[in-house]
């Protein structure tokens, strides 16, 4: 197929043809092309529309700094918007479409915005859409949302997988251009562990884009040889297609490796890997990025950076135009004219803004001391007008505004770059991230020989610091070039719009206007005009913007300063940050020991923290969850039920001072708890608020086993370790979390004793021998070790029995088998919750981090005779007011009404506002035993208001009903069942 702009040479494989699809048109390319070079080769100059004005735009650069050529890549679920065409490696079958236009790319309906440009100047968001107010929600916001953003998402799950990885090295070299390759050779030969990372698929940096010779061969060949040499070294890891995007604390770097983006199909491999690289030292050899010059209509397709034009010609064998003009303020721009002319491309003019520019070029029109004032051409450049009035034909204008060192990573820890007048650019400042050095163009060494020499010198000194003797290789032989520059930022004559930031449609006028309106600080300028935002982060625009800002305010560029560079250097997909942590792998699941059995027996599961717990067990004809839960409660209270309570935190506490320690942790007394007994314990936070509750059993003089709530299992253990190590470091006490070590089951109901007597070996379970709150170590089913506790969350005669976790599955099966004669049922977390609400036990809804022991009715549990965590602060008067909230029970006056948690209590007749608020409902359940809904809640002076009728007002659920205040212990208030 025809590639009209393909010229000679280049580092692409001409013998192989690849086909790709652009906006439905078939085009051809070669291996080694990028999408950008292939589009140019095919003569596709127009590739997108600008963000705000929908102006026609073409390819502007040849690297990750690309502001214009953002395209949508691939199709279906793999569609990826805002991909930079200059970074997309060509493969056979690639499909790409342009974005940010309504209708076709050629006839974008939104281009009308360009005619209304005067209304879209800096800060237009803040000045328009203010009135009429009612228009905002219905008209303005939907309209703005529809036109905001660039590409479109597929709205389907990402079909690819992403991975995370960790790497360690002595020296990380960022960038494999001439400086990076010299550094890598030196470090590799010294024996240090080296990682080299380069964002391109072809390492070598500008060596591939220029015509330099190194060691008497072409720079590209020298780069290829060097890379091959480095690949052969065991101590060097050479990573292409890898962008080091961030410099983090203590020598840690973030890098994104694109593993399969250059392949038609990933073949199941990860598409991208996010690396965390731990380094002793890092050498930044990131090179420099060229910037533009602002002049009238400088955004037309065909106007490009001069270095990029050279890249396309030298590396890809593509000319972006047939009649190319060059505009430059420095010596480097001349290289573009010379390289193109040498390849037979017609250079129509070279315009150097320096009147005293050295040099001449036979056969090319040279105009010194002038600039381009304006351009013409609707969807592609056709003519340029020079400030002297001359009109010159050109379908491509190569603009050389000077090079800006890529200092980004040096600023990731708030380092500020410093200005160097001689190269008219910012270079890394003195305050680099610890361990980082910079060499080459990134450090302002703008010529090939200087860059290589600096890279070698810096590497030798880094290696010496790391204790590696230098390999001291000879510097490659190069010829040095001139790099003179006289800053020239923008053309002042004429009234045409001149673009500074192509991606965000920011013009010189916007910057001046922003200053006029009082946005003098550079960070304000950025936010007001959006200069330097979005995917390219102003890589080609920032310095130009600063220069114009400086000029407007009459300050120097260093006085004006820069905005802060933050990671990432270039965009990183969210999928790469997520890695494998998506869908069901978003976080780990913890399964209870009876999980498999529960699944076999019809359980529905619920997430409680990381745990999956059985919520209820559906049986036969049951239609809704309430059927199952009501039955489980009735059968447990009428016979016996079994519930897996393994998820409660378990902490094993041992040592001679274990009792003393517990006495400091719990608000109530533990010193005198006898061996063989369990006690309910309340923990406070140090500020006196109720924190956690549970039971602690004394198995032996110096051995306790604590349970915590499921939710606080991790933090209670953490806080106890803090108390042990930091507050009372000399107590003889040791803690181990055994939550996962023991499978624990609640066996509750009047028949629980009968059932358990068939489970435990040789143990008298009579009320006299093993009363309420007793505990013991024992064995079950003929020798399996176990722990038995007579405790009750349901209010029934109940036990909890624990076996080592590996026996958990057989334990539930065996107990259900034994329990068959008692009609034993399994119950889930819902029935557990119903029974604790019926019984009036506080749980997470009541221990919510805002409640005191007094509010919970547990004020008596805070000992006045000892110092424990939270005891002192809990004595504060405000936390002990007699008229404060108290936990009480509620039932609906109309027993058919179902209560709703979250309702607030009001005196009947009072208005529903905060001033008349008297408390709130915390937990509700339907009590199958009582036949109506029951609730728990906090009510002002609640204990003194038994029998009172209140309004329970819940606007969120549209409920406004009357309730009766009653005891929180809806059933068995005397506790006879659990003691029986």
């Amino acid at each position: 197929m025809n590639q009209p702009n393909r010229i000679s040479d280049g580092l692409v494989d001409r013998a192989t043809a690849l086909n790709f699809d652009w906006n439905g048109r078939q085009m051809s390319a070669h291996p080694g092309d990028t999408l950008a070079s292939a589009l140019l080769a095919n003569g596709q100059v127009l590739v997108g529309r600008s963000f705000k004005y929908h102006r026609p735009r073409g390819i502007f650069s040849a690297g990750s700094e690309e502001p214009n050529a953002l395209v949508q890549l691939r199709k279906g679920p793999a569609l990826e918007p805002n991909t930079r065409a200059a970074m997309v490696e060509m493969f056979d079958g690639l499909s790409a479409t342009s974005q940010n236009h309504r209708g076709s790319l050629e006839y974008d309906l939104m281009a009308v915005n360009d005619w209304m440009a005067r209304w879209f100047s800096a800060g237009f968001y803040y000045k328009t859409f203010m009135w009429p107010k009612a228009f905002w929600e219905k008209l303005y916001e939907p309209a703005i949302r529809a036109s905001a953003g660039l590409g479109k998402l597929s709205m389907q799950p990402d079909p690819d997988v992403y991975d995370h990885g960790f790497l360690h090295c002595d020296l990380l070299i960022i960038g494999a251009g001439p400086a990076g390759l010299v550094a890598a050779l030196e470090a590799g030969n010294s024996g240090a562990r080296v990682i080299v990372a380069d964002e391109d698929f072809l390492p070598g940096g500008r060596l591939n884009a220029e015509t330099h010779e190194v060691n008497d061969i072409s720079g590209a060949d020298w780069a290829a040889q060097t890379v091959a040499e480095l690949h052969a070294m065991d101590n060097v890891r050479f990573m292409t297609r890898t962008t080091v995007y961030g410099a983090y604390d203590h020598g840690i770097y973030g890098a994104l490796e694109r593993m399969t983006d250059h392949l038609p199909h990933s073949g199941g491999k990860p598409r991208q890997v996010l690396w965390r690289i731990y380094t002793k030292r890092a050498l930044l050899c990131a090179g420099a990025t060229e910037r533009s010059i602002a002049f009238g209509n400088n955004d037309r397709p065909g106007i490009m950076l001069a270095g990029a034009v050279r890249s396309y010609a030298n590396r890809f064998g593509v000319t972006p135009g047939k009649r190319v003009a060059v505009m430059t303020n420095n010596d480097d721009g001349w290289r573009t004219a010379r390289d193109l002319a040498a390849k037979g491309v017609h250079v129509t003019a070279l315009i150097d803004t320096r009147a005293d520019a050295p040099g001449s070029m036979a056969g090319t029109r040279i105009i010194k001391g002038e600039a381009v004032a304006n351009t013409r051409g609707r969807k592609a450049l056709a003519q340029i007008t020079v400030t002297n009035g001359e009109v010159i034909d050109a379908d491509c204008l190569a603009v050389a505004g000077g090079w800006s060192p890529n200092v980004h990573l040096t600023c990731h820890q708030r380092g500020r770059p410093t200005w160097r007048d001689d190269i008219a650019a910012f270079v890394p400042g003195g305050d680099l991230p610890p361990g980082m050095s910079v060499a080459g163009a990134a450090n302002g060494a703008m010529t090939l020989a200087a860059a290589m020499a600096e890279a070698k010198a810096k590497t030798v000194s880094i290696l010496a610091e790391l204790g590696h003797g230098p390999a001291d290789l000879p510097l490659p032989k190069t010829s040095d070039e001139t790099a003179g520059i006289t800053p020239f930022w923008h053309v002042k004559s004429g009234n045409k719009r001149a673009w500074v930031d192509l991606q965000n449609d920011v013009t010189t006028k916007d910057i001046k206007q922003s200053h006029q309106e009082g946005f003098h600080a550079v960070e304000h300028l950025k936010r007001y005009t959006t200069l330097g935002m979005a995917t390219d982060q102003g890589k080609t625009a920032n310095v130009l913007g600063l220069a114009i800002m400086a000029e407007t305010s009459g300050k120097s560029i260093p006085e004006t300063g820069t905005t802060i560079f933050r990671p990432p250097y270039s965009p990183v997909p969210i999928g790469a940050f997520a890695g494998r942590s998506r869908g069901k792998n978003f976080k780990p699941f913890r399964l209870t020991p009876s999980h498999k059995w529960a699944r076999e027996n019809g359980a529905d599961f619920v997430e409680t923290g990381m745990w999956l717990r059985a919520q209820w067990f559906k049986q036969g004809p049951e239609k809704g969850w309430r059927d199952s839960v009501d039955r489980e409660v009735i059968q447990t209270r009428g016979g016996v039920g079994i519930c897996d309570v393994t998820t409660l935190g378990k902490i094993d506490i041992q040592g001679r001072d274990a009792a003393v320690f517990l006495n400091k942790i719990y608000s109530n007394a533990f010193l005198k708890l006898p061996v063989g007994k369990v006690r309910y314990g309340l923990m406070l936070r140090e500020d006196g608020i109720a924190y956690d509750d549970g039971t602690t059993a004394r198995l032996a003089e110096n051995h306790f086993v604590m349970t915590t709530t499921t939710a606080n299992a991790v933090t209670v253990f953490r806080n106890m370790e803090f108390a042990r190590q930091c507050l009372w470091p000399d107590l003889d006490v040791h803690l181990i979390s055994t939550t996962d070590g023991w499978a624990q089951f609640a066996v509750a109901g009047p028949k629980s004793r009968e059932l358990l007597s068939k489970v435990v070996d040789d143990l008298d379970l009579s009320n006299e021998a093993f009363p309420f709150m007793a505990c013991t170590e024992c064995t079950v089913f003929g020798g399996t070790p176990a722990r038995l506790f007579r405790i009750s969350f349901s209010g029934e005669l109940a036990y909890e029995i624990a076996v080592p976790a590996r026996f958990g599955d057989s334990m539930i099966r065996a107990m259900m088998e034994v329990g068959r004669e008692f009609d034993a049922v399994p119950y889930g977390t819902e029935a557990l919750g119903v029974m604790r609400i019926e019984k009036g036990h506080a749980a997470g809804n009541e221990l919510n981090g805002q409640t005191t022991a007094a509010m919970l009715g547990l004020g008596m549990m805070v000992s006045k005779t000892k110092d424990c965590i939270g005891s002192k602060a809990s004595e504060r008067p405000e936390m002990n007011r007699e008229d404060d909230m108290r936990l009480v029970g509620f039932r609906p006056v109309d027993r058919n009404v179902i209560l709703a948690a979250g309702a607030h209590f009001l005196a009947p007749g009072d208005p529903a506002d905060m001033a008349h608020d008297q408390g709130w409902m915390t937990s509700v359940a339907f009590s199958p035993e009582l036949g109506h809904s029951v609730g728990l809640g906090f009510l002002k002076r609640g204990k003194a208001r038994m029998g009172e009728t209140l309004r329970a007002y819940n606007p969120a659920r549209d409920q406004d009903i009357l309730v009766e205040v009653c005891s929180a212990h809806h059933i068995d208030p005397e506790g006879e069942r659990q003691r029986g």
């Binding site: 983090y248 604390d249 203590h250 020598g251 840690i252 731990y278 820890q413 610890p434 001072d657 003393v660 140090e686 500020d687 991790v714 953490r718 370790e721 803090f722 190590q725 930091c726 507050l727 009372w728 470091p729 000399d730 107590l731 000892k866 110092d867 424990c868 005891s871 002192k872 602060a873 004595e875």
Partner: protein, 95 residues
């Protein structure tokens, strides 16, 4: 960040849980004179220095040691790490 654990060597900060200022070690005696005021200060007053800060980190994904890390809040430079138990004892805490 990397924290140089005194027993386990360099460990990634992701293995740790942060608590706060090292003054949390200096818990007053709840039964002592002036305990009300002392607890007020202990609970609610913290230095917030721009510079060196001694703080408590817990090696939760590791050996469960509480550490005192001296970290510069401006640069994240860590100049010292020690076991919190050792520091607590030096500050006169015992049983």
């Amino acid at each position: 960040m990397i924290i140089h654990h005194p027993l386990l060597g360099p460990r990634d900060a992701a293995e740790f849980v942060y608590k706060g200022d090292v003054s949390l070690i200096d818990r007053p005696d709840g039964m002592g004179d002036g305990a009300d005021d002392a607890f007020h200060d202990y609970l609610y007053l913290r230095e917030n220095p721009a510079g060196e800060h001694q703080e408590l980190w817990y090696h939760e994904q590791g050996d469960r040691s509480w550490l005192v890390v001296t970290r510069n809040t401006l640069t994240h430079e860590i100049s010292n790490v020690e076991l919190a138990r050792d520091l607590a004892r030096r500050r006169g805490r015992s049983a």
